[in-house]
Symmetry: C2
Subunit: 258 residues, 2 copies
């Protein structure tokens, strides 16, 4: 019985050990032999085998191509497919509402799919006659939208080339960044400042700001931001909104760390 602190509910040891096995196999780039798991848990290998075998029977671990080492199994996949969207939306919706309320503009939550950003939730602007509409379910290019640039903020030239290819990027407006080198500079700026902007790079009449949401490892898992008509988001207000988005992204990031 592992007591972390006197006031905390003790955990179920066997379940914890099973989860440690799962995490170790997930961390490994190679299939993991039982011996490594035995070293990890520090208990007798027969016990480790029974834990790992339970995970395998339930499809959380698998033996690839009849070998003896373990990799993650299809049950993890089924789990993750349910996880991706609805749970993140559940977590972030209150934050989206707060961002929309604070800025008075339409706020969106986006995740990355391939070379595109997918809007998975939004909260519409309140008290505005003219506003950017909700685009939940829509795909946008990563490279010329604030939400997209926030999602790829950590990528450098080689990674951006791998993602988008060698050819120039398609221009959507006169202001669209079309070269990988310029995009890499923009991404580095996003990384440094903690927020991204889109100054008429995708739509002529629209300015956006967005900030990356990071998980415990520092990986960017989503982005949150606002879009507004150009006239309502002058440079100074843009900066204020960017800071607000950035603060809220950080709060969400904190809630993703167990």
């Amino acid at each position: 019985m592992q007591k972390k602190a006197a006031l905390e509910t003790p955990s179920i040891q066997s379940l914890g050990r099973g989860l440690s096995i799962l995490e170790a196999v997930a961390q490994s780039s190679e299939p993991v032999p039982l011996r490594n798991l035995t070293t990890l848990l520090g208990i007798d290998r027969s016990s480790v085998f029974r834990l790992a075998n339970t995970l395998k029977q339930r499809g959380f671990l698998a033996h690839p191509n009849g070998r003896k080492e373990y990799v993650l199994g299809p049950s993890v996949w089924r789990l993750s497919r349910k996880y991706g969207r609805s749970t993140l939306v559940t977590f972030c919706h209150e934050h989206l509402k707060r961002l929309a309320a604070k800025t008075g503009e339409t706020a969106h939550l986006a995740v990355r799919e391939g070379t595109q950003a997918l809007f998975i939730d939004h909260h519409a602007a309140t008290d505005q006659v003219v506003a950017v509409s909700g685009r939940t379910g829509d795909f946008m290019p990563l490279y010329c939208t604030a939400h997209g640039k926030a999602l790829i903020a950590d990528l450098e030239v080689a990674e951006l080339t791998a993602l988008f290819g060698d050819a120039p990027l398609q221009a959507h407006t006169k202001r669209t960044i079309v070269s990988i080198d310029r995009l890499a500079e923009a991404c580095a700026l996003v990384s440094a400042k903690g927020f991204a902007t889109d100054d008429r790079e995708f739509l002529e009449e629209v300015r956006c700001v967005a900030a990356p949401i990071r998980d415990r490892d520092g990986a960017i898992v989503a982005s949150i931001g606002i879009s507004a008509p150009l006239t309502r988001l002058p440079k100074k207000r843009c900066l204020i909104a960017a800071r607000q988005a950035s603060d809220i992204a950080r709060a969400i990031s904190a809630s993703l760390m167990p």
Copy 2:
């Protein structure tokens, strides 16, 4: 100790119960209260609480916005991000090699990312002077490649419209399907036959065939197929290769069912 069969290694009961909790929460479209989990496991609620709390402490479950119900937590996300590519590649690589050997053409494994297919592994054609090159890491449109069409085979008009929007699809060749209605017909055909073809719809000189890989629930999780120069893949050989791809896809699908 739950003995399914006399010759099978017994599983660790507490770990199994924890996994059952995880699966139940993943299956639910709503946050799950402890009471429902208690009903599911059929044991005392204090024990269920301790199992669920262990999962929560480890980040596999979470309480959204301070509520008492459970949803999947960020550790599941971390697990799944490691799972997606490398494990599927590990499972499928031998099958890819076999498909390339059987057909004599370059074989690819693809997954869906948004509106695109991503090639995540390939095995190059052997004994060919001119062959389609390996495209691992490249994104392709879903709607005009065999691998892509195999990935969206189960989608109907409404889902395809949601995915691609209302506007006509961009033509890559004279033969590209550019209307959602025609694409839906093509997808229905893929679903019925068990394989997809690309007859110069993306590249003028290339024909492809591909088949969907399904998991236990019947969901399409990847596609596997070959690409060859037009001259080497006449209609009759196309059909043979399609059957070969389909057979191998089915074998992979079977290995994804614990």
